[in-house]
Symmetry: C2
Subunit: 357 residues, 2 copies
């Protein structure tokens, strides 16, 4: 059921465009999906490249790495030269690491000018970024405000004040390729602070919830906050943050964009929750099917339904669907049954029909 | 960090109250969490009761069962008499099953008067429900509209028209203890149709996304839609629908209420996503910790953080937190380190401190 991409009613003026290598954040460009590599970066080997390839296939547009030492700066430069999409270096406290990343071609830094040290260090970093055509993300986190701001009882106000301090520094050195993020572990705070900043600034926003938790609570918090913001037209790039695999962060980010009508990339898998009437192993079938769909580029809706009574009817909107009746699987197309198979052979038969679409 | 429960700006008049045994849906009562039993109901044995007990402990307020035959109606009556919270029978097509459920004390039916048959059957069911003081949920699903309505290109309009037909039947027989639900597998449609109905009717709303899919896409769609609605004050009871365990549906429902500021029940587990700087096995620790928190009744925030540099500071809002430095786990309280333990003994030490709070 192709439908036009959502054009949310523009409550806010468009954000400015910030270029990061071959990707544009803001300025009306498609919203991008990010994640962060979670293991220490020790070498550029096949395992690393395969892992990155899998994230890319799942829909990762931008990938961030922590760069706690000069060694990571060096490795990130080498890694970037081998990839066709942008990396971001996450740098704290030590401006020499930031300079080294820029020198080696990393196209974006995540820094807080305020924790890079005295003004001359900030200037050096921002001038190097300008010279390299690199972008900067300033990340304002509710949990890491400076002590004076922490005493402010209104967290939203404190986060905005912190951003203004960072903005003063950026403007002092006439740096403008800046993306901002405002993260909290509270959905309410995250939504409120992004709305407030967006009202008065045109910097593109990287949106996410921080310390969101493990899979279930983490997905709930990220989906709630990011959908609320994106459906209002706020957010230029997203990062779902979970205490789980980066691949899941990317998949969830893509799903959130799809829910907000901002992306149609890949297969939309719908499936019923199953109940006492079910005659088909919905969950097990989904678990076997989902990995086979990841690299499937077509924009189609696929349905896995528990019972033959409601299944084909309820999922008549699906391009292809499957349900069960006794020992048979019924494959249906736009609600009409086209094939009956033994349950054992159902997955392969289903994938065969999917290829034909 | 205790904070008052959210009182969303009332854009809509309050819903009417519908009583279901000892639970009230609507009328300003706390929003309740539902799920559905997914296996056929064959006997009331220890396994069933233990499973229901686990759902109850996770925060399930109302539990639904499919009742495809008279046998389930009989079992549900017996089961209800042994439980201190309400059951719902999901009945289609056969009005005798609905009557049997009511006769045996099931306090709520999920039916669609329109598919129960001719008017005399609908009247019998509604009169029996009135006599028994039972409630009815009318479930309007985008996928199961009658053929004439399916031809309407605007799904929201078609679903509202279907509800009006059901309402006519209910009003004809002066039945008013009705909860409505409007479900679609599209987040956008689900949000739009609930908003539209709520503008003109005061029936309490059971909110959910149907055929939401397996865990990751399913949690994204449910969280996005339900948070969007609840944060506007729409929704009196929620059901997260996933092709996964009912327990996860309940946990996710509770998390969504918490995100919307509508519930403070239980422990708020926050944890960082971990990155290349991590010195603590965040995900593994969360996986071991989470099940131990399920039955822990206190309203506290617990943080599991990857690194000692940011951890205690970023999670200073947490009542209790843990992170690692080398081979030690650091336990902190409101940001201040109170204990250092070997990683192996960290979980038990952490639970010990949690008990002391």
């Amino acid at each position: 059921m192709p439908r036009p991409l959502n054009k949310p009613e523009l409550k806010y003026p468009p954000s400015r465009a910030v270029r990061v290598k071959n990707v544009t954040i803001g300025g009306g460009s498609p919203v991008t999906v990010q994640t962060m590599w979670k293991k220490p970066l020790e070498a550029i080997d096949d395992a690393l490249l395969a892992g990155i390839g899998a994230l890319r296939a799942a829909g990762c547009d931008i990938l961030r790495f922590a760069a706690p030492t000069l060694r990571e700066a060096e490795l990130l430069g080498e890694l970037q030269s081998r990839l066709d999409f942008p990396l971001v270096a996450d740098v704290h406290f030590d401006h020499r690491i930031a300079l080294e990343c820029l020198r080696r071609g990393v196209p974006k830094l995540r820094i807080n000018p305020g924790n890079i040290g005295p003004a001359w260090k900030v200037r050096e970093v921002l001038e190097a970024a300008k010279g390299a055509g690199a972008a900067v993300r300033v990340g304002v986190n509710a949990g890491s405000l400076r002590p004076a701001l922490r005493r402010e009882p209104d967290t939203v106000k404190a986060m905005l004040a912190s951003a203004e301090e960072e903005l003063d520094l950026l403007e002092k050195f006439a740096f403008s390729d800046t993306v901002f993020s405002f993260k909290s572990s509270s959905v309410e705070t995250t939504v409120a602070v992004n709305r407030a900043f967006r009202k008065s600034h045109d910097h593109p926003l990287h949106v996410g919830v921080t310390e969101a938790g493990p899979l279930v609570p983490g997905l709930v918090k990220n989906s709630a906050a990011l959908y609320a913001l994106l459906s209002e037209g706020i957010g230029d790039t997203v990062r779902v943050s979970l205490s789980d695999e980066p691949r899941i962060e990317v998949e969830a980010g893509r799903e959130i964009l799809r829910a907000a009508g901002l992306s149609k990339r890949g297969v939309n898998l719908v499936s019923c929750p199953a109940c006492g009437r079910s005659e088909f192993p919905v969950r097990e079938f989904c678990e076997r099917l989902a990995p086979r769909l990841a690299a499937f580029g077509k924009d189609v809706t696929v349905a896995v339904m528990g019972c033959p009574v409601n299944g084909p009817g309820e999922a008549a909107h699906a391009d292809l669907g499957i349900t069960g009746a006794g020992d048979r699987a019924l494959i249906f197309k736009k609600g009409a049954i086209i094939r009956r198979e033994l349950i054992e052979g159902a997955l392969e038969a289903f994938l065969e029909e999917l290829e034909k679409l």
